[in-house]
């Protein structure tokens, strides 16, 4: 079942399995990610949420010994196809990491980095301002664009990283626990920001925080490790559906245990 850019789904995974050094880490993931919606991945630690997220933009390629089976259809094409350029995939599918990781450069250069390396031709000042506005950071940093990005607070740094990811004009934003290193106020700002960004981007977020998933996401995927073989720690999808359904009317016992706090 192939799709093209005009369909509702940005990603469709088909039997996605990831191995680290030949050892199965996540098994047979089948997911759909809807355009201009926020999809959350929740589940206990070590169940492979981040692994699944990182396979969406081929970041797992950077880990020595990692290999992927199955397909991820993006824009009508399998991103793991031999003819697909992983660099192009990563430009169109941006990523925001758990820990804010701005480059040790100026705020301006942090945002301009992506466009520069991708050969952006246009008004860089305009682009930087637009991205910083989209990340709701412009008013705080407009007078200190030449200061080092590391001088900002943790929440500001994370919004700078979001602005930096937006600057390459991606389709999708992958967020790997973007607020886990932040205080509640900074977390709230990031969540508000995600609601605003939903207008233009598709967002996939991994979170440990179930309230956060319930607050921000439209669809939720609950992942867990295979209980029949707990030592192998093989992740799989337990349940996938609209967020409201997962949190209020879960179809599976395991999901209910987890979202109600009775898990493990």
């Amino acid at each position: 079942m192939t799709t093209n850019g005009s369909t509702d789904y940005v990603f469709e995974t088909d039997g996605l399995s990831v191995y680290y050094d030949g050892k199965l880490a996540v098994d047979n993931i089948n997911l759909q990610v809807k355009r201009n919606h926020i999809t959350a991945l929740i589940g206990p630690s070590g169940c492979g949420k981040s692994t699944v997220l990182r396979s969406f933009n081929r970041m797992n390629d950077l880990i020595p010994g990692a290999s992927v089976e199955g397909k991820i259809i993006y824009d009508g094409r399998n991103i793991y196809d031999d003819s697909t350029d992983p660099v192009e995939v990563r430009r169109r599918i941006g990523m925001v990491f758990q820990k804010p990781n701005p480059f040790p450069k100026t705020i301006y250069e942090n945002v301009a980095f992506g466009p520069r390396i991708n050969g952006y031709q246009g008004n860089m000042d305009e682009l930087v301002e637009r991205c910083l506005r989209q990340a709701a950071l412009w008013d705080e940093v407009k007078d200190k664009l030449k200061e080092n990005g590391l001088a900002l607070s943790g929440g500001q740094q994370q919004r700078l990283c979001i602005a930096r990811a937006l600057a390459t004009q991606p389709d999708v934003l992958l967020m790997d626990e973007p607020a886990s290193a932040l205080d509640p106020i900074a977390t709230l700002r990031i969540e508000e920001l995600m609601h605003e960004l939903k207008e233009d981007y598709t967002i996939v977020i991994v979170t440990h925080n179930m309230q956060q998933a319930a607050r921000v996401s439209d669809y939720t995927t609950f992942m867990s490790i295979d209980r029949s073989n707990p030592d192998a720690r093989i992740g799989h999808v337990v349940e996938f559906g609209p967020t409201e359904q997962i949190f209020t009317n879960p179809q599976k016992k395991e999901t209910e245990d987890y979202v109600s706090g009775r898990f493990g």
Binding site: L62, D85, R92, G94, M95, P102, P104, Q121, A136, Q169
Partner: protein, 552 residues
């Protein structure tokens, strides 16, 4: 929030071009960038080598070594017919002069009134013909010993030019004699006894030994005098006994109460850290000895070492950290690099001797290669195949490198390469993985990640390791001695193919010499200079680390 709303209409289709456009064909761009980078590195290396050649050729030779044009240089046999009655200045009548050095405070100016040959008997019983030149100077007639290294500055017009008269042996302070002047020859008199025994200044304490007859020359003419041969002097280095021999020069302070240091300043013992230590060439007279050739040699060798080891070392580190697959070959290389960092430096000297100085003997006249292709090689220690690739005079290429600055730099490169690689790898490894992921996540290619994020962030660490490795190299003696660096170089190199010496070798040479002035004063001065250069290099490294290190 309102700011976001105002901008959203322009960003309806974020994946498509909103403000600008993206160029197509990224891989072609990437390759072009990589080729450009390689060309840039090659061009930089080539340019720096050319610059080094140009500097050593034009600046060093031009400024330091050129003679004033008005004077004629006469060496070797001197015919009395042609130069008698000419005003001349004789420089260093007894010292070997290498190259075309003009700056000296040893010399005397006057009119040649005659020549004289004397047959002497040496201590070993051989006979020796000594050539003398009789000069009419402002201090009276002076007998100057001539050998084939004596340099005579002769002016075409036959007049003593002002520059010649300005050669020291200042008549107001000293009287120059051959032999001994009677009226000042008393206990307590400050004198300086000159060559050929080496110079020493001090106060006369006592006379001993057999009585000999000596000639004295002064304004009043020549006369004979009988003195005891052994004179004990109170010098700044303790009591020394001087044996008067044929040819001994003695200088008396014109003022009997004159200051000893006045004489010491002329020659003999000298305060160690005068400027001349760094501006003079090596000499057998401590008063005139310096380490200019050592300093220049060290600077050029270290410069070449930096030039070679930076691209090689950093390139190797980047390859091993970023590109090399984990496997037995990489492990072998890792183990080897770590072991090579601990190999005694003298081993690298042997390696440099075989590989760079001799090219495994490939260009010896008897080698099969030379005979098979009939290559026009020159014989001798630094011989080989010398040819010119582009017809530019200073762009010679010597194969093998011979005992040249280039071979020294290449040997030092081998010595510090493991240290540079290890330090660079540490610096690259210290870049947090999150930075790498961030750059990859933005669609950077591997080379862009390395060249735009990892390398700039690791650069201060790389530079610190580089400078520390170079400051180790600047103090290394053993490999260069094995490689064949010289201990006595009294000229500046004109190209990277010239023979050379370095500071530590000069110091090593001084320490071996018998005179206290060499061992105690000059060697100490040299060590201080070497330490000063080394510590300032380390200070630059620390400054770089503190100034540019990134606090995460």
């Amino acid at each position: 929030m309102s700011t976001v709303e105002t901008t959203t209409p322009t960003t309806q289709a974020p994946a498509a071009e909103a403000v600008g456009t993206y160029k197509e064909n990224r891989s072609a761009r990437e390759n072009a960038g990589r080729i450009f980078f390689v060309i840039l590195i090659l061009a930089t290396v080539f340019g720096l080598v050319m610059l080094a050649l140009l500097i050593t050729d034009v600046v060093v030779k031009g400024i330091f070594n050129d003679l004033p044009g008005d004077y004629m240089l006469v060496t070797g046999d001197i015919s009395g017919d042609t130069i008698t009655a000419n005003e001349v200045a004789v420089i260093d009548p007894l010292e070997r002069i290498a190259g075309s050095r003009t700056q000296t405070d040893r010399g005397i100016a006057g009119e040649i009134v005659g020549t004289e040959t004397r047959t002497e008997e040496t201590r070993g019983g051989d006979t020796l013909n000594l050539e003398f030149l009789v000069l009419d100077t402002e201090h009276g007639e002076v007998l100057i010993q001539i050998d084939e290294d004596t340099v005579i500055l002769d002016e075409d017009e036959g007049e003593t030019p002002a520059t010649l008269e300005s050669f020291p042996v200042d008549g107001s302070a000293h009287v120059m004699v051959i032999g001994i002047e009677r009226q000042d020859f008393i206990i307590g008199q400050e004198i300086l006894v000159g060559p050929p025994e080496g110079s020493i200044a001090g106060e006369i304490r006592s006379f001993e030994g057999p009585t000999i007859s000596v000639q004295i020359a002064s304004d009043d003419g020549t006369e004979e005098l009988s003195v005891q041969q052994n004179i004990t002097l109170e010098t700044s280095m303790g009591r020394r006994t001087v044996v008067l021999e044929e040819g001994t020069l003695m200088f008396f302070a014109a003022d009997p109460d004159g200051d000893q240091t006045q004489l010491e300043e002329l020659f003999g013992t000298r305060p160690p850290l005068t400027g001349t230590v760094i501006t003079d060439f090596p000499s057998r007279r401590p008063r005139e000895a310096g380490m200019l050739s050592g300093i220049v040699g060290s600077v050029i060798v270290i410069g070449l070492t930096a030039l070679f080891s930076f691209p090689l070392g950093v390139g190797a580190a980047i390859y091993l950290e970023e590109y090399a697959n984990r496997g037995w070959l990489t492990n072998l290389i890792n183990i080897n690099i770590n072991n090579l960092a601990g190999v005694p430096s003298i081993v690298y000297g042997m390696l440099g001797l075989t590989v760079f100085v001799r090219f495994f003997g490939a260009f010896r006249p008897s080698s099969p290669l030379v005979q098979a292709f009939n290559i026009p090689v020159e014989e001798g220690a630094v011989g080989g195949w010398i040819f010119n690739l582009f017809g530019i005079p200073w762009l010679e290429i010597h194969l093998p490198f011979g005992r040249s600055l280039l071979a020294g730099g290449a040997t030092m490169t081998l010595l510090i390469l493991p240290i540079v690689i290890i330090a660079s790898r540490e610096a690259i490894r210290a870049v947090p993985p999150s930075i790498r992921e961030a750059a990859f996540g933005l669609g950077a290619t591997k080379w862009q990640v390395i060249s735009r994020t990892i390398f700039p962030i690791a650069f201060p660490g790389i530079m610190t390791g580089m400078i520390l490795a170079l400051s180790r190299a600047i103090g290394e003696t053993a490999p260069l001695i094995i490689m064949g660096a010289f201990t006595f170089i009294a000229f500046l190199p004109s190209s990277i193919w010239d023979q050379f010496t370095v500071m530590p070798i000069q110091i090593y040479n001084w320490v071996q010499l018998p005179g206290d002035a060499f061992r105690v004063q000059l060697a100490a001065a040299g060590i201080i200079i070497l330490l000063a250069i080394m510590l300032s290099m380390n200070a630059i490294a620390i400054f770089l680390r503190n100034r540019f290190e990134i606090k995460w």
